[in-house]
């Protein structure tokens, strides 16, 4: 790709990415860096969800299972093998392959039917993974979980920050390219009108299954990074709450935009942190989840297309008005 061919939006994204590399030099506290790492990880997870919901129109209630697959693969390999980069690479490979197989099977079983079958089966399977993680104590440590070491190279928050940020940048640009490709455009036509896409000659099932596999693989990679940041695993990585969180991150940021879920992840993670920290100020903030819900409702009312979606719509409207006035 020639530099001259890079569009203005890409330059802006690259500028923001570059600025984020400087943040650890400003935010030197571990806690602040940890929040940023969590934002990057959930941004990756939310983008994987956006590929399904925003680009293909598939709703999943159990997307967390892919996240959990990545998390447990990493934790188990780091615990059972030595905490080396080799073991980590092996864990990533297992996580990615396992997520690809599960998402392929789930997709083949349900995606020929209406979207809610996929939602229900993923919800059921995520529940099943949760039960297996609880009951298979010798491997998973059950409900209590277990701690583990990570490779020395990733033991500082600065190195983990850099790894998470690089992963976010690469996955963002990779998914952006994927969704802007002819394949991605077909996914968008499926979201708009599945029957019409089929009668144009596209095997809709084939496209939906590939989207499901790509999404599952990216989500499992987010699970890997999550484990590297926590160094502790328990069954909560299969909790439905996490799926609800990424669903909200995607909706608040703007479905079908990729950049929206990143923004959504940032807002939701910061809101989590800020609202839960206010409990020292007033007792009402101990029930911060109520405020959290109120914020969601307000965002959905005032930004029905999500923040990025609403901004894009307003900008498109403005451009159309300007074009009309020039014509006159």
């Amino acid at each position: 790709m020639r530099l001259g061919n890079i569009d203005k939006t890409t330059w802006i994204y690259l500028g923001i990415a570059l600025a984020l590399f400087i943040v650890p030099f400003i935010l030197t506290g571990r806690s602040a860096q940890f929040i940023m790492i969590q934002i990057f990880i959930f941004a990756i997870f939310a983008m994987s969800y956006d590929l399904l919901l925003g680009y293909t129109g598939i709703i999943s209630f159990g997307h967390v299972m892919f996240f959990g697959i990545g998390a447990y693969s990493t934790a188990i390999f780091m615990d059972r093998l030595d905490a080396s980069i080799g073991a980590l690479v092996l864990a990533v490979a297992v996580a990615v392959i396992l997520a690809a197989i599960v998402s392929f099977i789930v997709g083949m079983l349900t995606l020929r039917l209406k979207s809610h079958f996929y939602a229900m089966l993923t919800l059921g399977l995520a529940g099943l993974f949760l039960v297996v993680a609880e009951k298979w104590r010798p491997l998973t440590g059950g409900f209590d979980g277990f701690t583990f070491r990570v490779p020395d190279l990733l033991s500082t928050s600065e190195s983990l920050y850099t790894l998470s940020l690089i992963s976010l940048i690469l996955i963002f640009f990779g998914l952006r390219r994927f969704t802007n490709s002819p394949f991605g455009k077909v996914l968008m036509t499926i979201r708009e009108n599945e029957e019409r896409t089929e009668s144009l000659g596209y095997n809709v099932l084939h496209y939906k299954v590939i989207a499901s596999v790509v999404s599952g693989v990216v989500a499992s990679f987010a699970g890997v990074l999550y484990m590297l940041s926590l160094r502790f695993v328990d069954t909560s990585v299969f909790a439905t709450d996490i799926t609800i969180d990424v669903l909200l991150m995607t909706i608040i940021g703007g479905v079908g935009t990729l950049v929206g879920p990143i923004l959504g992840a940032g807002l939701v993670e910061l809101a989590h942190h800020w609202l839960s920290g206010l409990s020292d100020v007033h007792w009402i903030f101990e029930r911060w989840i109520i405020l959290y819900g109120t914020v969601y409702i307000l965002v959905v009312i005032f930004f029905p297309l999500g923040i990025v979606g609403t901004i894009r719509k307003k900008m498109a409207k403005r451009t159309a008005v300007q074009a009309r006035s020039i014509k006159k």
Binding site: P182, M188, E192, E198, S199, L200, Y202
Partner: protein
């Protein structure tokens, strides 16, 4: 005359409703075959059934002598049948250019030539290339829909009510387009606008209550006032 498409005693349901009772149609290669009939007679269902969007319960559908009954729609499209639905099926959030690119499954000399022809025929599509499909006018959407079906080397085009909801001047343009397209592909056209059907059609079938009740050359229909009145309500 060899049939390009043949439906024999086709029966089809939409959920529990028995829509097609016995539809038999033979579309010869070349020219325009028109399906006529009152609203709700089963014309759109016939096109959808050919395209595999409705299941055939009984009877056969053959294209170039090969049975295509109940094949998935993408297989049927792959055999060379293009479909322009009644609602135009434009992808509203994709630009005009993207709508066209998505429809053009492969790019070769022939499809590039066809695209050039289409853009020459419909200059508005070129003008609004980057505009979202959903923001086009009804006539422009119809042009885009027809253009998409024509881009691929389809041997048969199924076009459902292209004049529906369009201003008379746009209908004229659509009529001219179909006349030009019939030189290149066989067309099975569903049309309520008898003037348009009469202008472009070579032969006709009348469907009434899910059955083919009458057929013949288009010029014969004009003479048969009784049939026109009974099935089309034109006196």
């Amino acid at each position: 005359m060899d049939s390009l498409l043949k439906l024999q005693e086709v029966e089809a349901f939409i959920e529990k409703y028995h829509i097609l009772h016995e539809v038999s149609i033979s579309v010869p290669k070349g020219g325009v075959t028109v399906l006529l009939g009152r609203n709700g007679a089963g014309k759109t269902t016939t096109l959808r059934t050919i395209m595999g969007l409705n299941q055939v319960n009984k009877g056969s559908v053959t294209f170039k002598g090969e049975e295509i009954r109940n094949l998935p729609p993408h297989h049927i499209a792959g055999k060379g049948i293009g479909y322009v639905p009644e609602d135009q099926g434009i992808f509203g959030e994709l630009t005009v250019g993207e709508n066209i690119r998505v429809a053009m499954k492969k790019e070769n000399q022939e499809t590039t030539k066809r695209m050039e022809w289409v853009l020459e025929l419909f200059p508005d599509l070129k003008k609004f290339w980057k505009k979202p499909g959903g923001q086009l006018s009804g006539g422009q959407k119809q042009m885009l829909s027809i253009a998409r079906a024509y881009l691929n080397e389809n041997e048969l085009l199924l076009i459902d009510e292209p004049s529906k909801g369009l201003a008379p001047i746009v209908v004229e343009k659509v009529t001219e387009t179909i006349e030009q397209m019939k030189e290149e592909a066989t067309i099975l056209l569903v049309e309520q606008n008898f003037a348009m059907a009469n202008k472009v059609g070579d032969q006709f079938y009348i469907i009434d209550d899910g059955q083919t009740v009458h057929s013949g050359r288009m010029e014969e229909l004009q003479e048969d006032k009784a049939v026109m009145k009974k099935y089309l309500g034109i006196s």
